[in-house]
Subunit: 192 residues, 2 copies
């Protein structure tokens, strides 16, 4: 029988994730992961085909973390939950946020399906009863831009010192409501 296994797939992923959080995805190298594990590179190649394979597993893990952050939100509004989770992710994993969110990647394609769901949901909102689909889509894009902007500024450290961490999320909601308010005012103007 062989000696007992000390390093399984999961422990290698965790070690690589540690490095990715500090140095970014491209900071993952066989020797650095081995060092983090306090082992040689052997356990890495025992559990993964090659380094790209490990990196893919780490990326998958990160998106799972991000998904957990969304699921953990307890608000009624899915849009609000996504926005809050996004900012929380940017705050907790700024390096990974830059590496994965601010970069064209396959996971973003799945947004198209999500967009349809969100548009359906918006159609049910009483404040948007008489809006057409194009109006809702345009608002959704604006909301997305806001949440991307606040998340990015959070990840990059551009949130000014006079703003508390939690206040950033307040501003996210505040801006969303202000856009809704402006839209309804404009509608009234137009129907006059």
């Amino acid at each position: 029988m062989p000696p007992r296994t000390k390093f399984d797939r999961q422990s290698v992923i965790e070690a690589a994730l540690e490095i990715a959080q500090r140095e970014g995805i491209s900071g993952i190298t066989a020797r650095k992961v081995a060092g983090q594990l306090r082992a040689s590179v052997a356990p890495i190649y025992a559990n993964f085909e090659n380094i790209d394979d490990l990196v893919a597993a780490v990326v998958e893990r990160v998106f799972a973390l991000s998904g957990e952050l969304v699921a953990r939100q307890r608000g009624d509004d899915p849009l609000e939950n996504i926005g809050r989770a996004s900012i929380a992710f940017a705050r907790g994993y700024p390096v990974l946020f830059r590496d994965l969110v601010m970069r064209p990647n396959a996971h973003m394609d799945s947004y198209d399906a999500l967009e349809d769901q969100l548009l359906e949901m918006m159609a049910g909102d009483e404040r948007m009863q008489d809006w057409n689909r194009q109006d809702r889509r345009r608002l959704l894009f604006k909301l997305r831009a806001i949440h991307m902007g606040l998340s990015t500024m959070t990840a990059v450290g551009l949130v000014p010192s006079w703003l508390d961490e939690d206040e950033v999320e307040d501003i996210l909601l505040e801006m969303g409501e202000e856009l809704m308010l402006a839209a309804s005012v404009k509608r009234e103007e137009r129907s006059k």
Copy 2:
């Protein structure tokens, strides 16, 4: 006398910039720059102390390009000009935008001085006559978040196909105006 100089400081910077536009700042290597120049690595080390020195010069050049983009805007409103230039930069140099803007860097510190100027300018706006400095600062932050969000989405390729390039800039202005509108409506409500 020596043979005539074929590669000056500027030509090396331009070659490195070409590579940075395609592969990002970290794509700049001595041999790749030499290949772009159709030369050896010698001219690089004749003009620069080391590679970091060259990279610093390239970064400086990129921020100069970004500054030119702002200066080229012909609108009355400085905020609008900055926003439009930022989106134009994100569209023209998406890789560099990710490498330099979406990353903590020294150039961002100079924003503090700019912020003061912008707040002064906003104080002159008739629509904000009765606002206090904190109100203006909060609005400025929101406008900045919007412009960061739209620029980021542009650089990352998250602008949906139903939105024209120019329309992104339209939305930038539209959102700014909607925030102003909402703010004035809220003020009226409060003073009632």
